[in-house]
């Protein structure tokens, strides 16, 4: 990074990493995302909240083009990362996904060893020049995902043999290991106990130093704890988006207010 950019960041606190304009998503005839504009800043945690089925996951999956894999899904509008249109013809979604990591709603470790789970990304992207470097990447990723202590003695055991919460942290380690710039997390804590949740939240807070993190959550407390900015989705619309403190203490839209006070959802 050059000095000029650093100064610029100081001025605005944080620059825009991801910007969406007029995004519409259709599953066949279902209109799942309706005309969403959003700016996600770098080095910040942005939370997506909203009732079930409102399109949080769908929008999240637009950011790394995972929706491309769904036959019926059609995305319209413009999403840029670092001012580059990710839906441009020239963009290879595979390269995009190395830059934008993802943790899924349901833990989905590969049916391979714990080590191979984490090492897979770095291997295919050529991030390590030798075994020692790879070992180091794996270890630090597992440590960052707060699971190192539990698995360090059985790295060659199958990842699918872990408990649900451990599996999810393994998936987080796997996503972190590829050194993405943006990390998308779809309800990463839905399978975790309070202690693991606290660890993951701590991790998210730490990840903020280097990445921009987008997290979908059903827990208001979690959104309030980990995020700096919050977006509230309702029936495919982005209803309200702003500083997390603002949204929770002083919501401008009635729907946001009723949702966070527990009246819709």
């Amino acid at each position: 990074m050059n000095d000029q950019r650093l100064i610029q960041r100081d001025a605005t606190m944080s620059e825009t990493k991801i910007s969406a304009r007029g995004v519409n998503v259709y599953y066949g005839d279902t209109h799942a995302i309706k005309d969403v504009d959003v700016d996600i800043r770098d080095r910040m945690v942005t939370a997506f909240i909203g009732p079930s089925g409102c399109g949080k996951s769908t929008f999240l999956r637009c950011i790394n083009r995972m929706n491309d894999t769904i036959e019926s899904c059609r995305v319209e509008g413009k999403i840029t990362i670092d001012d580059e249109d990710i839906y441009d013809r020239k963009v290879d979604p595979v390269q995009l996904r190395a830059k934008v990591g993802m943790v899924f709603q349901k833990p989905n470790p590969f049916p391979k060893s714990i080590y191979d789970n984490v090492a897979y990304g770095p291997r295919i992207h050529g991030l390590a020049r030798n075994k020692a470097e790879l070992d180091e990447i794996v270890e630090s990723a597992l440590k960052r995902a707060a699971i190192w202590k539990e698995v360090k003695d059985r790295l060659s055991a199958p990842g699918t043999g872990l408990s649900g919460g451990q599996q999810q942290r393994l998936c987080i380690a796997r996503a972190v290991a590829t050194a993405p710039e943006v990390l998308l997390m779809d309800e990463p804590c839905s399978a975790l106990d309070p202690i693991a949740t606290a660890q993951v939240e701590e991790l998210i807070d730490e990840l903020r130093q280097n990445f921009s993190v987008v997290i979908v959550t059903h827990s208001m407390q979690q959104a309030a704890r980990v995020s700096q900015r919050t977006a509230f989705f309702h029936l495919g619309h982005l209803v309200e988006f702003g500083e997390t403190g603002e949204i929770f203490t002083n919501p401008k839209d009635k729907r946001t207010e009723s949702y966070i006070t527990g009246r819709i959802g």
Partner: protein, 451 residues
């Protein structure tokens, strides 16, 4: 709550009786379950009985094909007959045909009759020669051509006994049946008994059944499965080499990469239909395309293999697609999510998980192909083939037989000795199938251990 009445009527509280007493519904359900289990057990029982019946009948009829009666004789390799010029020149010796060797065997019986224990009135040495397979002269000639230096010596030979004599020791031929049989007389059987008593006749395991080529109608004792086994192995080789890569590649493409449109739908429907096409149709296709159009030789394993490949492909494709479908989509998402390409996600994650299913499907397909008869009849694999095909790849174009066709062939022949051999051939076929299934299970274990 106590003030329920104030809030209006509430649904009556359900009353469950004692848990120690089964109510009527539970009893009915339990009875239904018991009945269902009984039906299942009966079905399995019927299947087991049928299987055991089938297997034991085949074993009963066929096991004896692996044992054969042999007669040991000391043959004097008479130089006056075999090598008149006395120069041991193989070319000149080879001018003596198998007919020239018959007197040597006759002479060997004359010698055997010098033993006072052997000899039946009215059975001459020439009659005794009929105890031995017509194959014996050829065996003798082969030996002499291979060892010309032993001409002039007396060598001990173990000859195949004639099919009737063999049948006598397997219970197929009796003294009574021999009386009505123009091919064997009761006296000859008595002579055989004497030979046996003298230790010159014995029945033991017969490797020749597995290694010799087919033999003509009147020498069942010399008929073997060698050519058929090699032909079947060659065909399986062709089928495996062609259908596994083509089938798996097709399935991966259709399942993972192909766009879903009317065209791929048509392909899909057609593959499913092909799996149901009667195999004889593939035979006609093979005859028309590979033999008449492409000009490949008849009754060659390559043509058989190609036809069986066409037949096996749908099976492999369907099995492979099913096992690819069974891989959870979350694994694909996970791979794509860390930035793997579509191909990496398929080859690194999906394919290994689908491997047990693919292998099982392939081996089932191969096993089906191994037992297939009808299409092979059409492409001329019924031919009577005495010569072993060469080593592959050239050998794939030489005429050969196939195991199931050999079974069919032998059941068509008049001599009851061939019935026994047909059952024996079925046993060999079953052993091959068992072996393939065992390999399938083993491979599956291996791949599953890697989760």
């Amino acid at each position: 709550m106590t003030d329920a009445t104030a809030e209006g009527p509430r649904p009556a509280r359900a009353h469950h009786g004692s848990l120690l007493v089964k109510d009527a519904r539970t009893k009915a359900r339990n009875a239904a379950e018991t009945r269902f289990r009984l039906y299942g057990a009966i079905a399995v029982g019927i299947a087991v009985v049928a299987l055991v019946g089938l297997l034991s009948s085949i074993l009963y009829n066929g096991a004896s094909a692996f044992r054969q009666t042999f007669i040991t004789l000391n043959v004097y390799l008479d130089p006056d007959v075999l090598d008149k010029n006395g120069n041991r020149n193989v070319e000149e010796i080879s001018k003596v045909s198998t007919f020239g060797y018959a007197p040597l065997i006759e002479a060997a019986f004359e010698t055997a009759f010098e033993n006072p224990e052997i000899g039946i009135e009215g059975v001459t040495a020439s009659d005794a020669e009929d105890l031995i397979s017509k194959e014996a002269a050829a065996q003798l000639r082969r030996y002499v051509l291979a060892n010309p230096g032993e001409i002039g010596q007396t060598v001990e030979f173990e000859f195949l006994a004639n099919g009737r004599i063999d049948g006598y020791y397997k219970g197929r031929v009796t003294m009574q049946s021999a009386e009505r049989d123009s091919n064997v007389s009761p006296e000859q059987l008595q002579l055989a008994d004497q030979l046996k008593a003298a230790g010159l006749l014995s029945t033991h395991f017969n490797w020749d059944f597995l290694t010799l080529a087919d033999a003509s109608e009147n020498r069942p004792e010399a008929a073997g499965l060698g050519v058929a086994i090699i032909g079947s192995l060659y065909m399986m080789l062709v089928v495996l080499v062609l259908s596994l890569p083509i089938g798996v590649a097709t399935s991966i493409y259709l399942e993972e990469f192909a766009p879903k449109n009317w065209f791929t739908d048509i392909i899909e429907v057609n593959i499913a239909n092909l799996a149901a096409v009667p195999s004889i149709v593939f035979g006609i296709l093979g005859l028309a395309i590979f033999i008449n159009f492409a000009g490949l030789p008849q009754s060659a394993p390559i043509v058989g293999g190609l036809v069986l490949t066409l037949m096996t492909l749908p099976t492999i494709i369907i099995a492979t697609r099913a096992s690819l479908k069974a891989v959870p989509p979350s694994i694909r998402d996970a791979a794509l999510g860390v930035g793997a390409s579509k191909m990496q996600s398929v080859f690194h994650h999906v394919l290994p998980l689908a491997m047990p299913g693919i292998l099982t499907g392939t081996i089932i397909g191969l096993a089906q192909a191994l037992g297939e008869t009808a299409p092979l009849l059409l492409i001329g694999m019924v031919a009577f083939v005495r010569d072993f095909p060469a080593a592959p790849p050239e050998g794939l174009f030489d005429p050969a037989a196939a195991l199931p066709v050999q079974v069919y062939n032998w059941t068509q022949r008049a001599d009851p000795a061939f019935t026994e051999r047909a059952s024996g051939a079925i046993i060999v076929l079953l052993v091959f199938l068992l072996f393939m299934n065992a390999v399938a299970i083993l491979l599956r274990r291996r791949f599953e251990r890697r989760w």
